[in-house]
Symmetry: C2
Subunit: 236 residues, 2 copies
């Protein structure tokens, strides 16, 4: 009789990191239950990317949760604040980025925990990264560890002894390492989307922090960047 | 010059406990920013109660956040599982109730934290109670304390030194004490709604755990119950 695969909940944004994270979970033998949020982000093209990535990874279940982070305001990703742009990766400012969304990962992980408990899964994968996104408080190891502690107290399953595990396989990786890992695992990274401020046809802008990191990652990895940017000249 | 009141985020369900909690926050001098969730619950009449309560308390802002807990399934409050009914409060079963919703308070508090950080508030009020609802893991003091720790790690404000405080003024109160406190603070408790399974016109059923606790609370407090139940005979 075939052994039933353990289930894992995967936070899937449609970006490169979460797609690679999902492929790592799959390689570890988990059945994938992916969760994507529609939260009034300006880059709704991410949602379509998430669906394409989920399909390409043959997930068991893909759930889109619609929430309204704009009800509270306060971030470039949900408000009309201009996303900072540059052609130079060294222009990325230190500290907490303007693209920080209050308590976003806490909201995402709370839903992931609800999802996991509902399907009797104890494993949640999240593609947070403390290297390129060092400014985000909710991408740090101490935050993730604290959420694991909370999960055990918060749930019926936890009270009954379940040890929820938050898997963050990319937390200490450079973007180049993430790209190499994604390629090794056969992820079609061309399906993913990183840009904070895509053009009308959904093409990446090539100049926001996220595009700069993606370009630099491919360059550092020595792998040709399959991303189609708004202006071809930006590939230089 | 008038001192500007500190802001507090109040989780307002439309029930008796959260209405009393909001009145306590108001008495403490906070400007109230109330947050209510529409989460596909069977008792949507709660949402209307929350709006009425918010108006009666002259809140500065009332936000309704729509989320879909049915996307994950798993609870009597969102699924079609029958809510247990009885005429006898001692029939309330020990342990975690069937009405438990996976990670619900974690989701609610995550949004409250986002709301608080956005409006530069450090105070979140939640009407959890560990006496009558002792079976819910996310109504316990240790859970609340853990969420406070998480809040400091999760947010830009926390990293910058803000100490988020979760106020749970009712956590150790009996239902009778809560009712007396609500009455003392001038809360119109007739606006509130507790029933898990209201009738077609929104009237309380009188037999679910929540109705039983409410009735018993009024009886113990020696205060006439203003609640209109589906069948008048249930008032006995």
């Amino acid at each position: 009789m075939a052994k039933t695969a353990s289930k894992a909940v995967i936070l899937l944004s449609g970006g490169l990191d979460s797609a690679t994270t999902a492929a790592i979970a799959r390689e570890q033998g988990f059945a994938l239950h992916s969760l994507t949020f529609a939260y009034g982000q300006r880059h709704a093209v991410e949602l379509q990317a998430a669906v394409r990535v989920a399909e390409s990874l043959s997930v068991a279940q893909h759930v889109v949760q619609t929430i309204d982070l704009r009800a509270f305001g306060g971030s470039a990703l949900t408000d009309s604040i201009d996303v900072p742009k540059s052609a130079d990766p060294s222009a990325i400012r230190p500290g907490i980025p303007i693209t920080y969304v209050p308590a976003r990962n806490t909201i995402f992980l709370a839903f992931a925990l609800a999802f996991a408990e509902t399907i009797a899964s104890k494993d949640i994968f999240i593609g947070v990264n403390a290297v390129d996104y060092s400014g985000y408080p909710d991408c740090r190891e101490e935050y993730i560890a604290k959420f694991e502690e909370l999960a055990r107290l918060a749930t019926k399953a936890g009270v009954e002894g379940a040890q929820f595990k938050l898997h963050t396989p990319l937390i200490a990786c450079s973007k180049a390492e993430i790209i190499r890992e994604g390629v090794r695992l056969g992820v079609d990274l061309s399906l993913t989307h990183s840009c904070y401020d895509p053009g009308l046809e959904g093409l990446a802008c090539g100049f926001c922090d996220s595009c700069l990191l993606r370009k630099k990652g491919y360059a550092d990895a020595g792998i040709p960047d399959p991303t189609e940017y708004v202006r071809a000249a930006n590939d230089a």
